[in-house]
Amino acid sequence: MKPRAHPYQSLPDSAFWRQSVAETQASDVDPVVATPFTLAREDRVAAAGSCFAQHIGRYLSNAGLRYLVTEEAHPLADPATAHEFGYGVYTARFGNLYTARQLRQLLTRAYGTFRPRDDVWREADGTFVDPFRPRIQAKGFATLAEYEADRAQHFACVRRAFEELDVLVFTLGLTECWVSREDGAAYPLCPGVAGGAFDPERHAFHNFTVDEIVADLTEFVTDLRRVNPRARLILTVSPVPLIATASERHVLAATTYSKSVLRVAAETVSRTVEGTAYFPAYEIVSGNYTRGRYFASDLRSVTEDGVQHVMSVFLRHYAGIDIRRPSAPEKPARGGDRTLEEMERLVEVQCEEEALGSNGRS
């Protein structure tokens, strides 16, 4: 019997598993069919999100695109130290933003429309920790004055980022979160893990639903466009599994749930909010076509090959750039501050001169 005409007959290869996945060389798998917009060379691209988002800036910069960094370390810090202090890791020094609620909260906090009651943690050693970026300084802030000055500066950089960016790439990482019972403020880490003290009377576990995440992202885009009407948003979902769950499920089941919720939320927003897109980083890394080879031995960390595959697909579709070779990891270059190098030379000269003969007053 001759088959009747049906919709699948006219679909491209990308619609078929065998052609586009099973019989395609793994490194050539490209799950992007179309993008709603592209990046121009002059577009300023910001990055935020869970830890997977840290790779984005490096690849954008290496590809010659304008990776927007509004909070750079002072040049007295060498690059490795600057990185340790969270400078340049993302567009501003906000640390990991695992949830959509955190992203929205960052904007409202930066513009002063939300001030969490639990605003600073004083540690037993007298240092101060920012509850919303608790690992930004390994030893915390030495004084409350330093903390407040740094945070005010940070918020100014965040506002600049939101107002200057053309495109924000946001990587959704988690649905599970700890929030304040007092005002709903969302913490990146459970209080007590990297500062602060856990108090069941004040801190509650929350596992965000699809609707909540869609609402947070939608409200974020609305607020963002009040200060930057041209802003566009590219959403990705981190392929990195949960390191732990508080959901009373097995961590593997919790991971599947969490990533599924994030994936649906990202899809929903990209289909309902103009100027937003979903990019399938999650699928590229965790698709079964890789047979797990894009995960390191801990089965969580994404290998450089995996990151390179993600970013090559991203750059091809969004910027028309073909990167054939993996980008070399950033080398911590010698601190290149010309003023300090010149001063170092002069102090050496000055000391040399002083040592050659006493010029002290007698």
Partner: protein, 269 residues
């Protein structure tokens, strides 16, 4: 131009290595630029026979710290020999002590300031970028890594007591620095002298970095003489050298007294 000619003249005159420090002296003071004020003071007050000097800038001590192989660094044989003399009763370090001036003697093109934890109410330069004090300390520690390694290696090289003298507090007078800019003249014209409160904070952080390294190594850290400091803990005018960063011979005499007190077992105030 004149100061450059003077520099060349001094280099040429001092190209030959100086003679070996007196092996009979019970006190051996080792350092670089801050040693000069001490040498001058020792010559003046007659303490010179008790104290010998190792000027690490001298050609004799080039490469004082030897890094070779997988083991830790060691002293050059000349320095090891001078330190290890049987007559030594006290080793005094005035090593380094200028790294804070790299960061903040002059204004940085990207003005910065920070909050000093011990004195959080000190002025903060208006409009300056706030830098975490930990980052400032890290930057100073990395710039001082060779000096601190030399301190540790010296400590391991001898069993006699060892002290380290804090570097001089900053000069509070911008006018004085402008009048005696030394080699910084061109850069001062371009950048200007950093405010005194910032130079003070940087000195304090530098001292805390060195103090911590000394404590770890078992070296007593001797603070700058209180009598040399004004109410803001910066140098009194009598302690100003004719340059932006060093102490005068009067200051050197106060440090010398601290050293002699330490050698005689008297506690430094």
């Amino acid at each position: 131009m004149a100061h450059l000619k003077d520099l060349v003249r001094r280099h040429v005159l001092r190209r030959e290595p100086s003679p070996r420090p007196d092996p009979r002296a019970p006190i051996l003071a080792i350092g670089t630029s801050h040693l000069a004020a001490l040498e001058g003071a020792a010559r003046q007050n007659g303490a010179a026979p008790r104290i010998a000097f190792v000027q690490l800038r001298d050609a004799r001590y080039r490469g004082a710290l030897v890094r070779a192989g997988d083991g830790g660094p060691s002293l050059s044989w000349r320095l090891a020999e001078d330190v290890g003399e049987r007559s030594r009763e006290l080793i005094v370090s005035l090593i380094g002590g200028n790294k804070h001036n790299i960061l903040g003697l002059l204004n940085h093109p990207r003005p910065f300031d920070f909050v000093l934890p011990e004195e959080p109410d000190l002025p903060f330069t208006p409009g300056a970028e706030c830098v975490p004090v930990e980052l400032v300390a890290d930057s100073l520690a990395k710039r001082a890594v060779n000096e601190l390694d030399l301190l540790r290696t010296l400590r391991k090289a001898t069993k006699v007591p060892m002290i380290h003298m804090e570097s001089p507090p900053p000069n509070p007078s911008v006018d004085h620095i402008l009048r005696h800019p030394g080699v910084f003249k061109d850069r001062i014209d371009e950048l200007g002298v950093a405010p005194a409160h910032l130079r003070y904070k940087l000195w304090r952080v530098h001292s805390s970095v060195v103090r911590a390294a000394c404590a770890e190594a078992g070296i007593r850290f001797v603070p700058a003489p209180r009598e040399s400091q004004d109410t803001r803990s910066m140098l009194l005018e009598a302690a100003w050298a004719d340059d932006p960063t060093h102490g005068s011979t009067w200051y050197g005499a106060l440090v010398l007294k601290q050293i002699l007190d330490a050698a005689d077992g008297r506690k430094t105030p």
